[in-house]
């Protein structure tokens, strides 16, 4: 069914309202804060615009427009939006197949739509193919179809309220108030139908035999039907809260309000405000735009469910505007730079000596604030997806690096902690889900208690493991190349303590996971890949500790095996998600196997190299 909806929306001729040509500078503050229900969550329109634009173009901005300005154009001036290059096509061969201009980075809807229409027969069988059986090019093509269908829905979201490039015979004019749009056309629908039936009875279906008046009637009737057909299943722009008691937490689109009669007087009022807003945009009236958008915000909040919180919407807006993780990476980077500098030169000024710690601390505070903002926005603990686990693990690495830091001896724990955090944060966007990274969770995960106690515990364990492994790398390097026995010993102690802390967190986290599994699936342990991954980390840590105690592992061996924790963590954290089996289906990922294998091989090579160098020094001593 989905296939046909997608194909139908693309191949159907798109009737769009007339071009507006808006050029005024509009105040976007209120418009951006307006709430919309999207992907199960109420969010500001600016977030919706960001998600949509990124999905189509992979960009945050378009020409001179930010995402919200682009959304405004798309909603209120779809004719111009259809001409604006917005779609990215990453596959060169597909660009050739679609007969698109290779020199362009982005393509407009007007360019893409006919090209996809021509490839319909080739694309149709792909919709029924398993995703794993699709080639990269086929995936790109399907994604393009889906994006185009989504864009069509977006373009049509407001067509009910926008003026049509159409005129009616004088006999109809009396019943029309103001500009002719779908809503006004509905008022004369019956009369149009009767007249058209009469025309067809008299003259048949060949328009060439119609008089200009009859042609106008036929055209108006055709517009009405096509707009109505295009509105079917258009559930994208849920901006109007539904007032009925049994529709709690539901929001309706303008089309739903008009065609299904949901809403009530409040919804009708909001709809009229939106119509005015569209009018202000199309007439370049910036002052009216500002007043109406403020009024809509006020009215929407008044009508919306109690759970909607304006502060939450504003914080989400800020979160997306500030790009906090770029700032955090920068602060961690500066801290590493300053600490590395101090490793070689000791300045006399106290402030300069404290610079690495202060920079790292500022980064950590910002990191905590950012995670708190995510908790506040989503009203749940900060870790529910793979991407979110990276955000949390990096905080643990950086914070623990600072805790282990002793400025008098060395900056190595700090450099290791913040360096690991910065590196992982740079990689994090790879794991960012398509669409919104602020996601609602599957029913089984929708429990704040277990998300807090189990997931935070185990991901904190991952963070401590990574730090232990990175400190072990540093320790091996110092032993092998710097011949600093005091520092080597200090790092060995650090690795020992952090690996005990890691064992504590991962063992308790794994046990808590078992208890959660017992509560939701009825068994403590099911040998599920995710469970096995967690157990593997625990067993590795236990093995390394027993090797150290029983002296089967020398101090260098202990450091090398602790460094190898990175591989175990990578396998358990990311690797098991590639298997696509088990009950933890919400954590599956794909397309990372090659990178994971490359990482493991590189780590084995690096650890072996460092181990040999350290061992040589150990033997020489």
């Amino acid at each position: 069914m989905r296939i046909f909806l997608i194909l139908a929306s693309i191949i159907t001729a798109l009737l769009l309202p007339q071009n507006a040509g808006a050029e005024a500078h509009f105040e976007m503050q209120y418009f951006k804060t307006l709430p919309i229900l999207h992907e199960g969550r109420e969010k500001p329109l600016s977030s919706f615009a960001d998600i949509m634009l990124r999905q189509f173009s992979g960009q945050e901005k378009l020409q001179n427009m930010d995402a919200s300005q682009w959304l405004t154009l798309t909603l209120f001036d779809p004719q111009s939006a259809a001409e604006l290059p917005v779609f990215t096509v990453s596959d060169e061969t597909l660009i050739t197949k679609l007969k698109l201009d290779k020199t362009q980075n982005l393509y407009s809807y007007a360019q893409i739509q006919p090209a996809l229409k021509a490839m319909r027969d080739e694309a149709l069988p792909l919709f029924s193919k398993e995703e794993t059986a699709l080639t990269g090019q086929e995936k790109t093509l399907l994604r393009l179809y889906e994006n185009t269908a989504l864009f069509t829905a977006l373009l049509r979201s407001f067509t009910a309220l926008l003026p049509l490039d159409l005129s009616l015979p004088p006999a109809y004019q009396d019943q029309i108030d103001g500009a002719l749009n779908f809503t006004e056309l509905l008022k004369v629908e019956k009369q149009l139908e009767q007249d058209l039936t009469g025309i067809i009875t008299r003259k048949g279906r060949d328009p060439s035999k119609y008089t200009p008046r009859e042609l106008t009637i036929a055209k108006a009737s055709f517009h009405l039907q096509t707009l109505r057909a295009g509105a079917q299943d258009n559930e994208l722009l849920r901006i109007i809260p539904v007032q009925w008691e049994d529709s709690k937490d539901q929001w309706a689109t303008p089309w739903t309000i008009m065609l299904q009669g949901q809403g009530g007087p409040g919804a009708a009022f909001l709809l009229s405000q939106w119509t005015d807003l569209a009018g202000a945009y199309r007439q370049n009236d910036a002052r009216r735009w500002k007043t109406i958008s403020e009024d809509i915000l006020e009215e929407t909040l008044l009508q919306s469910p109690q759970s909607l919180n304006i502060k939450r919407l504003k914080i989400e807006q800020l979160y997306r505007t500030v790009h906090p993780y770029t700032l955090i990476i920068t602060l961690y980077g500066l801290s590493i730079f300053a600490a590395t500098f101090l490793l070689f030169k000791q300045p006399t000024a106290r402030l300069l000596r404290l610079a690495p710690t202060l920079l790292a601390l500022t980064g950590i505070v910002l990191h905590i604030v950012t995670l708190t903002a995510r908790i506040y926005i989503l009203q749940r603990p900060p870790v529910g997806t793979l991407y979110e686990s990276i955000l949390f693990v990096t905080l643990i690495c950086a914070a623990l690096g600072i805790l282990l830091q002793r400025a008098r001896t060395s900056f190595i724990p700090l450099i290791t902690g913040t360096g690991t955090a910065a590196a992982l944060l740079i990689c994090a966007p790879v794991f960012k889900p398509d669409g919104d990274s602020l996601e609602v969770l599957a029913a089984v995960l929708n429990t704040n208690f277990w998300l807090t106690v189990h997931v935070l515990c185990i991901t904190a364990g991952y963070g401590v493991c990574i730090l232990a492994a990175m400190l072990a790398h540093s320790g091996l390097y110092i032993s092998g190349f710097k011949h600093n026995k005091e520092l080597s010993k200090k790092l060995r102690q650090n690795v020992h303590r952090t690996s005990i802390a890691a064992l504590l967190l991962t063992a308790i986290g794994t046990a808590l996971g078992g208890i959660w599994a017992d509560q939701s699936w009825g068994r403590f342990w099911g040998w599920d890949p995710k469970e096995n991954g967690a157990l593997l980390i625990v067993l590795w840590l236990v093995w390394v500790q027993h090797g150290r105690i029983s002296k089967h592992l020398s101090s260098t061996g202990f450091m090398a095996m602790s460094a190898a924790l990175n591989i175990i963590i990578a396998i358990s954290w990311f690797g098991v998600n590639l298997l696509n089996v088990g009950l933890h289906s919400y954590g599956f990922t794909s397309g990372l196997a090659g990178s994971l294998i490359a990482f493991c091989i590189a780590e084995i090579a690096l650890i072996t190299f460092l181990y040999i160098a350290a061992k040589k020094q150990e033997c020489a001593a």
């Binding site: 229900l37 999207h38 992907e39 199960g40 969550r41 109420e42 559930e235 849920r238 539901q250 929001w251 609602v440 599957a442 029913a443 089984v444 929708n446 429990t447 277990w450 303590r497 005990i500 802390a501 064992l503 504590l504 063992a507 308790i508 046990a511 808590l512 078992g514 208890i515 959660w516 017992d518 509560q519 939701s520 699936w521 009825g522 068994r523 403590f524 342990w525 099911g526 040998w527 599920d528 890949p529 096995n532 991954g533 157990l535 593997l536 067993l539 590795w540 236990v542 093995w543 027993h546 090797g547 105690i549 029983s550 089967h552 396998i571 098991v576 298997l579 696509n580 089996v581 088990g582």
Partner: protein
């Protein structure tokens, strides 16, 4: 005796763990990877529910063997070689926690039974079904007179039945074909019921045995409707045969048991995130009927119901235009509390151990 003491001492060595864990980790990785290709259940049976794994002609230790030795080692180490000092209390407690977890695992492996039950809204049921094992159930005027496990089909003792059954063929996972299109089709044979139209061809098992379509073809004699019948998973209707006054019903499918009480589903509710089909939560409002007693209860995600040794979990649901049913996972496990106790003891032990390390560190720093 001397040898026994020496063996026990060796088994109590702390370094046994160092040698046992690598094969255990290798097994864990292999078993996990195997799930990708074999499916979760068969891989679990092969790697984690076995004493020996055959890698071609080479026998390798399975999880039962390795965990068994590990349990013995931990217990002997705990009893014979623990240093009962305050500084070691964290380690001792952690080991005790691990022993309790392993014991719980053993008890669960020996006693746990997993079932499911499907109850349509407005109906009640005392029946629970196993996920993987199937059986042919035979009823005489609604009284069950035989339950024949499918795994044991070769050894079915059918002598006590009031009529004769002869198994002609069976398959764990069957491909259903049209009888008339088969080469050598003989319309003169006494095909009965659905056997007139369908024939089974064995095909490779599914990754998940739950998804296999098992079936069998058998000949019945000594009744009023003698002939050749087929029975398979999820048959829409039981086979009905009469013999004089008696009515016999033959039902094939997931092995069924009866709870000592009944559960009625009054309402199944699925809450979705606004504007999506994604479930935010779901729950079943039920009534437990035990003898003359009846009381309401709710089963929801992460909040199971426990009653008379059974635990009921909200597992899944079925929805149609005019139909809603809840699917509950039902577990009977005598070792259920062990993981809880083991986890608490293990956690306390590790916290204590970590705390003692930090205290020692601070004492040394001050010194």
């Amino acid at each position: 005796m001397k040898n026994l003491v020496s063996l026990l001492t060796r088994l109590a060595d702390a370094d046994m763990v160092f040698w046992l864990l690598p094969p255990l980790m290798a097994l864990l990785v292999s078993g996990t990877l195997a799930q990708r290709w074999m499916g979760l259940w068969p891989a679990m049976e092969m790697f984690f529910s076995s004493f020996i794994i055959w890698a071609g002609p080479v026998p390798l230790p399975g999880a039962y063997t390795l965990l068994g030795i590990l349990s013995i080692n931990l217990t002997l180490k705990f009893l014979l070689k623990s240093r009962w000092q305050w500084e070691k209390s964290g380690i001792i407690l952690s080991h005790l926690g691990a022993i309790i977890l392993l014991l719980g695992g053993l008890l669960t492996a020996m006693t746990a039974r997993e079932y499911y039950m499907l109850i349509p809204e407005g109906q009640e049921s005392p029946f629970i079904y196993e996920y993987h094992r199937r059986a042919l159930n035979i009823f005489e005027n609604d009284r069950q007179i035989a339950r024949l496990p499918f795994e044991n089909i070769e050894n079915w003792d059918l002598s006590a039945l009031p009529f004769q059954i002869r198994i002609q063929n069976s398959c764990q996972n069957c491909d259903i074909q049209k009888r008339q299109e088969q080469p050598g089709y003989d319309p003169e044979q006494p095909w009965q019921g659905m056997a007139r139209f369908m024939v089974f061809d064995p095909k490779p098992n599914e990754k998940d045995p739950e998804s296999d379509l098992s079936g069998l073809q058998f000949e019945v004699t000594g009744t009023d409707q003698d002939g050749i019948y087929v029975a398979f998973d999820a048959m829409p209707k039981p086979i009905e045969i009469t013999k004089g006054e008696a009515i016999y019903r033959l039902m094939f499918g997931k092995r069924q048991s009866i709870l000592p009480f009944t559960i009625a589903l009054t309402d199944f509710v699925k809450n979705e995130y606004g504007g999506t089909a994604m479930a935010r939560s779901y729950h079943s409002d039920i009534i437990i009927k035990d003898g003359s007693l009846e009381w309401p209860a709710r089963i929801e995600m992460n909040k199971p119901l426990r009653y008379r040794g059974y635990t009921f979990f909200q597992s899944s649901f079925e929805q149609g235009p005019d139909f809603e049913a809840t699917i509950l996972a039902v577990v009977e496990n005598k070792g259920r509390l062990f993981p809880y106790i083991g986890s608490i003891v293990l956690g306390l032990g590790l916290i204590l151990h970590m705390g003692l390390i930090l205290i020692r560190k601070n004492t040394r720093s001050k010194a």
